[in-house]
């Protein structure tokens, strides 16, 4: 199985682990991720304003490239996923926006035809947890892991359609498949503070702490996330339990973590 793959800029830089392990694990699970050529940054956040066109072109090009390759698109970074998916949704449902965008597109029209999977959806819907279980060589038995979804994977649900936005299970199910124990806590879908970190670090710290406290109170030993900014915010807020990328956790269980360190 082959998919187009969009890592995004953070994954090429500060969050290399998220990217490298995603590819390694995919290979183990029998999926080839083919990186889109010459991609550009998605912009980090999706601007909901209807008149913002230019800021969304890079996402459309990524989607168009996947379409040209005749492949579905896979993303890992929560932010990239949110931006690309929301852009695609706008291309499908907002004809005025789509026609404006298509005026900028050198080649054929694009109208939201590409199907997008987040890495988690790829595992759940394409690979299947059973296959993951089969491939686990290093069961994470006994580990109490808290899934941190944040906002970007789940909301707005009318567009993202990943899971129940208020009571998601997609990461917990993966944690179970890896042999560990998921810790369910109520603030797992609450915002970490996001980009406000830049201007008002104190607000970000406050928000992140709500999440961390809630997870710890529920007995978490590790927090797992798919978003580099979430990880950064949690860590910068004095989180005293490890915050890891979900691909890193997956790599550990699949026994491919050491390889990258060599």
């Amino acid at each position: 199985m082959k998919f187009s793959y969009f890592p995004g800029c953070t994954l090429k830089n500060k969050a290399k682990d998220l990217d490298i392990y995603a590819r390694k694990c995919a290979e183990v699970l029998g999926v080839t991720l083919e990186e889109i050529e010459n991609w550009q940054c998605c912009g980090g956040v999706f601007t909901t304003a209807k008149d913002e066109v230019a800021t969304k072109l890079s996402s459309v090009r990524i989607l168009k490239d996947a379409q040209k390759n005749n492949l579905d698109l896979v993303t890992v970074c929560s932010a990239c996923h949110n931006v690309v998916k929301q852009t695609n949704y706008a291309m499908q449902n907002d004809a005025e926006f789509a026609s404006k965008v298509n005026r900028y597109m050198a080649e054929d029209e694009y109208n939201g035809e590409t199907k997008i999977y987040h890495y988690l959806e790829l595992i759940r819907d394409v690979i299947g947890y059973d296959k993951v279980k089969e491939c686990v060589v290093n069961p994470l038995a006994g580990k109490k892991i808290a899934a941190y979804y944040g906002c970007l994977l789940l909301r707005p649900n009318s567009v993202m359609r990943m899971d129940d936005p208020e009571n998601p299970t997609i990461i917990e199910d993966l944690i179970k498949a890896l042999g560990a124990t998921p810790v369910v806590y109520s603030y797992r879908n609450e915002c970490c503070g996001g980009y406000v970190r830049m201007e008002s670090p104190e607000l970000a710290v406050k928000k992140s702490n709500t999440v961390i406290e809630s997870a710890k109170k529920a007995g978490a030993e590790v927090i797992v996330t798919a978003c580099p900014l979430c990880k950064y915010n949690l860590e910068k807020s004095g989180c005293d339990i490890p915050v890891v990328y979900l691909t890193e956790l997956l790599a550990e269980a699949l026994g491919v973590k050491e390889d990258t360190n060599e």
């Binding site: 912009g43 601007t47 909901t48 304003a49 909301r155 915002c191 980009y195």
Partner: protein, 130 residues
Amino acid sequence: MSNSKKYLREEIIRISGVNPKKCMRCGKCSATCPAYDEMEYHPHQFVYMVENGNIEPLLESESLYRCLTCFACVERCPRSVEPAKLVEAVRLAAVRKQGNNRMTANDVPELIDDETPQQLIVSAFRKYTK
């Protein structure tokens, strides 16, 4: 309502695609907002004030930059009003004004550290500048 107020209101409604008239004043957006305590004007007030054309105070308010765009209000609004989209539209109206960029490239080195993900920098630029 004066013409300029009307114009601004129409503009915000057009950019956001939100119909504030759908609001039934339940306050669930504000009940749900994680940045509530940091905001001078709360999500439900954004909706109400835009509907009434009372947008000037919002344009001046720091609240615009406290909204985390976490979409919790969008998700939970029973009337599908989508307050976050209104906040975004008003914020854009503010930063698009000449000289209203809140952040320049020169400010960045001071604000970041070794671990700061690129994602944070680009998102902040999207949010604070035009």
